[in-house]
Symmetry: C2
Subunit: 490 residues, 2 copies
């Protein structure tokens, strides 16, 4: 696939100088147009050593308005990056809507290098490429333009550039051991690069191959390509993409109907169980901490189902330095300017820590679906995005637990009345709660679909009968301990 | 100073139950009031083992609305925390306006423990306490209420609680080696704790000492104290504090007048120097990277003075993975919700990295002062806050360089005209630039005061004659290399 990209293409100085002003103007104009349109642009440049990756980045920074772009290059992962899933650092670098993020090699760096030096085998390599496709797809689905350029050189061209650069005392410092080593590995690298490019040449994020030998030619070629992709996106010619299948709404009776809400636990039994479990949770979380295993506990459920109460009975058993409770609220403007999963990526626990979510990313397929805050297409595709997200989490070794606290509509009514009668609980009831109540059936359907679509082997939903608070809490304790024991082989 | 706090204070169950509802209501009301008032509340609880720190945090989380508060506890610093100044992690945990941040021990943990185990000597300990005062003062100056509670126990009380907890099979798990060890060190710790409390018992962030033996008593006492402090703040009874002295406006001729704007450098000489310096910068920054020394380069200057141009000639000499250019723009809502230095703390480079600022925190004493975006009091006190900030940076080993690019008013006019005539440079001129130009004298006064107040031995200002771009760039290269050489002993 590199045949054409190996052909030397040149552009003489005069033609180059004649073309630059128009191209710069065009790119500046486009930059001003993506801002109000709220389109994030991801520009990734990869390719061979000495093919001009740095020069392209430098040129774009000079041609365009640097206030609305950000350049990212990634070295070896730092400790805090290693303690999160692989892609965490790329999510953290996601450009906000209306901005351009420029990535030097980006997520292609580690799999290419690891495969070249045989640190990973073919199967892992291909899995990593599939992983990359999911990342890029999540972003393009969210409206991003993903432009990927591969700067290429024939072996002869690469050798020639290295020699030329070394012979010039002004530029000699640019060539290090690495360039020579890579030149030796040219053929091997090409096989690997071709595989990577083929596997990731998707309709939503296609590769643009360009010969990098001549700096004038490559700058104009890449600049034009970038302009063209942004223009196409602005014109609404969105990259062809497969619409996700609408979820099969679970037929027949609701899954929530299978939850036996009559189960109860006496106060005495509750107290005994609570003490025993808290001691167990304390032991297990300390052990997990030692083993650097982190956990994410997700609490969803009807209003007044007792999410906060459960959480407050779990945390006293944990070391305050190791856990964090995150009550999910309206996103900040920084959060709104990114993919909706970005704010959850942002708060991923470091290895050994626990994050407890009082509501979570499932808002997308619950409240946002029912209230119409997310379009049909958005919440439809959220199921697979969430499944991918959770697969990354559990793949990294995170213990992920998802609870739906279920109560009956009558019990909710009773609790609302009770709250109204207790002064310091009154603040917990808002007009929104009452409105939500009116949409009970729509929510029930949404919960049904959510469980159907996102209860996976690696992250199953736990439906907790919560009409009786004592029973609900002990059930959560029990599930939590079981999951920890299994994960820690304890 | 602990005599009173050692006296056992009790509250029987009935009185406690009678007092809780009012207190909860009051705290909830206050929470609702600080939100629109935009007041951040910092609640820090420290004290002896078993005196109920965890219980207090748990109780406040139960009593108040957890959606508007966040609890922070800090373990041993992680790698990414160690690679920033000590206080970085506390700045990152600063509560946003309208929210409550609850801190378990917080910034008092490391100095107390380090002194107890003789990891630091008395002088360092006292310096750390002074450092803490500066942190708390920066926050209270910014409008925060800082409430600090010390939960105390007599030695006898502490021993009794440990025994009681251990004898109860339900709670035995709560006592570990640490508690026994600390009990043995009780007397030594008290001496150190007293010093810490005395040194940090400031008018803006006073300590509240309370006996922690009885859980009912301590909850009510601490809850009331918190309510009282917030109420006082809301009522405008701000803690008495010394207003910073207004800066002595530098008399006589302007410091910028001393810059010789006639210096020039020929194109040929420039080219030679540039190449030599770029090679040198490349070598020095690689060396700094190896030695894990990071750098922050601050570029300030008149509009059109050539800041971007200089930056674009420095970065090609650096490894793209090691530097980041941050163009300073209007803060996001998350940033606006914190102390104005928060967003700069946020982007501090990790050890070995370079951050280049195109405009910086000096906006506070330049544009914000001249345009009236900051009150007189705010920009006045910014000088010492900035000096403290920069002292922390350089104290951590960061190479900090501050450049003011100076051009004459005529040269600026010439450049504006030139920009207007080049299509793709036209976007660089805004109505704001023209307005700024009208306030040239006010800006000149602001620059003068800025240099007077913030040119320190550890972070001096470099005034660069920039009428001639070639000269300016080479001057920056030279200063940069000199500073690196000195810092690296190279």
């Amino acid at each position: 696939m590199f045949e054409v990209a190996e052909l030397k293409s040149r552009l003489d100085k005069t033609s180059y100088a004649a073309q630059v002003p128009d191209l710069r103007m065009q790119l500046l104009d486009l930059q001003q147009m993506i801002e109000p349109a709220g389109i994030p642009v991801v520009f990734l440049v990869a390719g061979l050593d000495c093919a001009g990756k740095g020069d392209i980045i430098h040129t774009l920074n000079e041609w365009m308005d640097p206030r609305y772009m950000e350049t990212h290059a990634f070295g070896r992962p730092s400790e805090d990056e290693r303690e999160r899933p692989n892609h965490w650092r790329y999510w953290m670098a996601q450009p906000r809507r209306g901005r351009i993020g420029i990535f030097s090699v980006g997520w292609y760096g580690p799999p290419l290098a690891d495969r070249l030096y045989s640190r990973i085998d073919e199967a892992v390599f291909l899995a990593e490429l599939a992983h990359i496709n999911r990342l890029e797809k999540a972003w393009t689905n969210d409206g991003a333009v993903v432009v990927k350029c591969w700067l290429h050189l024939s072996k002869k061209q690469q050798r020639k550039i290295i020699e030329k650069t070394e012979n010039d005392p002004e530029t000699r410092w640019k060539i290090t051991e690495t360039e020579h080593e890579h030149l030796k590995l040219y053929d091997e690298f090409l096989v690997i690069a071709e595989k990577a490019l083929r596997a990731t040449n998707t309709p939503e994020a296609p590769w643009f191959l360009v010969n990098g030998y001549d700096s004038h030619y490559r700058r104009i070629a890449v600049g034009r390509h970038l302009a063209q992709r942004i223009t196409a996106r602005l014109e609404g010619v969105r990259e062809q993409r497969v619409k996700p299948e609408p979820p099969v709404s679970s037929p027949g009776p609701s899954i929530l109907g299978t939850v036996d809400l009559k189960v109860k636990l006496g106060k005495k039994a509750y107290r005994d169980e609570k003490t025993a479990f808290q001691s167990k949770i304390s032991r297990l979380t300390r052990l997990a901490r030692q083993q650097k295993r982190s956990a994410m506990l997700v609490f969803e459920g009807w209003d007044a189902a007792g999410k906060g109460g459960v959480i407050r009975r779990i945390t006293p058993a944990m070391d305050a330095r190791n856990y964090r409770v995150i009550p999910i609220q309206a996103p900040s403007d920084e959060e709104r300017a990114h993919h909706y999963l970005w704010r959850f990526w942002r708060h991923l626990p470091r290895d050994g820590n626990v994050t407890i979510y009082d509501r979570s990313w499932y808002g997308r397929v619950l409240v946002e679906r029912v209230e119409g805050f997310a379009s049909d297409e958005e919440w439809h595709r959220a199921y697979s995005e969430i499944n991918d997200f959770e697969e990354e989490l559990t793949g990294h070794g995170i213990i992920l637990l998802k609870f739906w606290l279920h109560i009956s509509k009558d019990e909710q009514a009773r609790r609302f009345r009770e709250r109204e009668q207790t002064r310091y609980k009154r603040y917990k009831i808002t007009a929104e709660d009452l409105r939500n109540r009116e949409k009970w059936d729509a929510y029930e359907q949404a919960v049904n679909d959510m469980v159907t679509q996102t209860s996976t082997t690696y992250a199953p939903w736990h439906l907790i009968a919560a009409n009786d608070k004592y029973h609900a809490r002990v059930e959560v304790f029990r599930t939590l301990c079981k999951a920890y024991q299994r994960a820690l082989n304890y």
